[in-house]
Amino acid sequence: MAQSHISPERSLVPPWWVWIGLGTISFFLFLGLGIFGIVPVPVGLDLDIAWSHETRTTQYIPTYVPNNGKELVFVYIGSSTCGFSNDESLPALIERVKVELHRKAQAHGLDFSAVGVAIDWHVPHGIKHLEKFGLFNEIMTGENWQGTGARQHFGGSLSGESSTPQVLAYVRSIQGGGVERSDQYYHESDKHLLARKIGLDGISQWAELGLPMPTDILSLDS
């Protein structure tokens, strides 16, 4: 009777740590493929891999939810045909302002939205210009200075100097809004200007100072 030369120590079954390693690699591989849409994931599984809020705030990410209360609105107004609006330093500056204002709004318990306005005749040119400035909740372009975007932000309680680039910050209250609610339920308060900064220097200086705004208008109680 031949003796077996296979000792129990040399079994073909991999040790436990190999299984754990393979399992871990497979999990992350599947997870990665799922995130990039290469393999299907179960419906309703909302994969959201993110750094903590403090470390990801270099870009403003709009949230598309109904606001119901006091809101800080930031408006960038530029033009594809204005040399100063196309300065290469401006997009980063505007992004920084959006992020910081969003943070300020949150600190004051206010909702926030960012609006982009391009003073252009040609709508595609206006959209292309605004694309350089990151994400907005809303954009307006076309009809140049007679367009709705211009008239909305240079008239009434937001009257001011018509030039580009410039930024506005104002507060308003929206009441009655909700998912699938029609316009008749909405009530918008008067708009109160917090700041209007004109030109690269004006915007940059405002940002350097920490975006100061009247605290009594910004207050939730006002």
Binding site: F84, F154, G155, G156, S157, L158, S159, G160, E161, S162, S163, L193, A195, R196, I198, G199, Q205, L209, G210, P212, M213, P214, T215, D216, I217
Partner: protein, 377 residues
């Protein structure tokens, strides 16, 4: 009057020059696509547009050690600061477009960002505000200057004037009128009238005396002379004015033209003084994309002219570019009665009244500093 030049103003001037469509008057010149006669390379102001001093020896010269002589450095004064970096609405300024004083120890600060006038006493106490954003009477959309005569306050926007009357209860809007010829700046008030710089090819003169209802009672001062009507219009539409209510004299200096002229309220020349060391910025005629335009350099810039309510005008100009680090801001004090003046040094001053000196600054944030001279009392 306090003015800070911005690229926007330059662009507006360029646009104004570019947009005026006039027929050619001189066949020896180049005609642009809008029919405007242009002499490319011609630099303004031309010598014939710089009036001689009257009497001939009147001149304002910078003192030799001007760069070391700081106007406010030699004054013994207490100071009060108006404006905070961040605070309540009435505590912080948006953009200080202009300031004015009256003989009633009242300081008016025109804020063109928040579109209102803030009123303070000379100790810095906030007394109230008037005006609001909008396009109706008494509403501002981009106010440029404020002029005060007694209890009458004129707030001037491009092509529009709002008139307020100071009453016990506050400031009452009494009128609001449009004038098509008004320029970007150049306003003062005395004896219940507004004096304003404005020009269009239909106008014979550049300084207009208006009633509180906007009626033109008189006009005087010759426009800038150029065969290019666009150039003539641009340069003649911009200037600085100061009114001496006490002596009934109007001081006029047109943009980039280094001669200060004093007129009686009827438009008779009282004296003329030359700014011998002021270097006008180069304004060169050119054709830009087929249209007439003026290329503006960044050298000298006349930015301040006001009356102290007593016997003097104060005149200020930059000698270099607009950037904070590369200009010197020279200040002169001129006797309204004689035209003789002295160089006070460099610095920044927006208004002087009684023993108080008012400085407006936008760095690091908008503020007014009131200096009260200790030797004033």
């Amino acid at each position: 009057m306090l003015k800070t030049p911005t690229p926007g103003i330059c662009l507006l001037l360029l646009a104004l020059a570019s947009s005026i469509q006039l027929s050619a008057q001189d066949r020896g010149r180049i005609i642009d696509r809008n029919g405007v006669s242009v002499s490319p390379g011609t630099r303004h102001p031309t010598p014939e547009n710089i009036p001689e001093a009257c009497p001939p020896d009147l001149a304002l010269r910078e003192s030799r050690n001007a760069s070391e002589r700081v106007f406010l450095g030699g004054i013994d004064a207490d100071s009060v600061v108006l404006g905070v970096l961040e605070g309540k609405h009435h505590e912080m300024f948006g953009y200080i477009a202009d300031v004015a004083t009256d003989g009633l120890e009242t300081l008016y600060v025109l804020d063109s960002e928040y579109n209102e006038v803030r009123v303070f006493d000379y100790s810095g106490n906030f007394l109230g505000s008037f005006g609001s954003p909008g396009r109706g009477p008494g509403e501002f959309r981009s106010p440029q200057e404020i002029a005060v005569s007694g209890r009458t306050v004129f707030v001037v926007e491009y092509l529009q004037v709002h008139v307020f009357e100071r009453q016990e209860s506050g400031f009452l809007l009494t009128d609001s009128f449009k004038k098509d010829f008004m320029g970007f700046r150049g306003n003062c008030a005395m004896n219940g009238h507004l004096y304003t710089v404005g020009y269009s090819p239909e106008e014979e003169h550049v300084v207009h005396k208006l009633t509180v209802d906007g009626i033109s009672e008189a006009s005087f001062a010759e426009p800038y002379s150029s065969a290019n009507t666009a150039v003539q219009t641009v340069i003649s539409s911009d200037g600085l004015l100061a009114c001496s209510e006490k002596h009934r004299i109007v001081g006029v200096i047109m943009d980039n033209v280094p001669t200060l002229t004093a007129y009686t309220e009827d438009g008779v020349v009282a004296w003329r003084t030359r700014l011998t060391d002021f270097r006008p910025r180069v304004m060169e005629e050119l054709i830009d994309e087929g249209r007439a335009a003026i290329l503006q350099g960044r050298e000298g810039y006349l930015h301040t002219l006001f009356s102290d309510g007593a016997d003097h005008f104060y005149l200020g100009y930059y000698t270099a570019g607009y950037d904070e680090d590369d200009y010197a801001n020279h200040i002169f004090r001129i006797d309204v009665r004689t035209g003789k003046g002295e160089h006070l040094g460099t610095g920044n001053v927006a208004a002087v009244n009684g023993g108080s000196i008012f400085v407006a600054s936008h760095h690091p944030y908008p503020r007014i500093i009131i200096y009260k001279r200790k030797d004033a009392d």
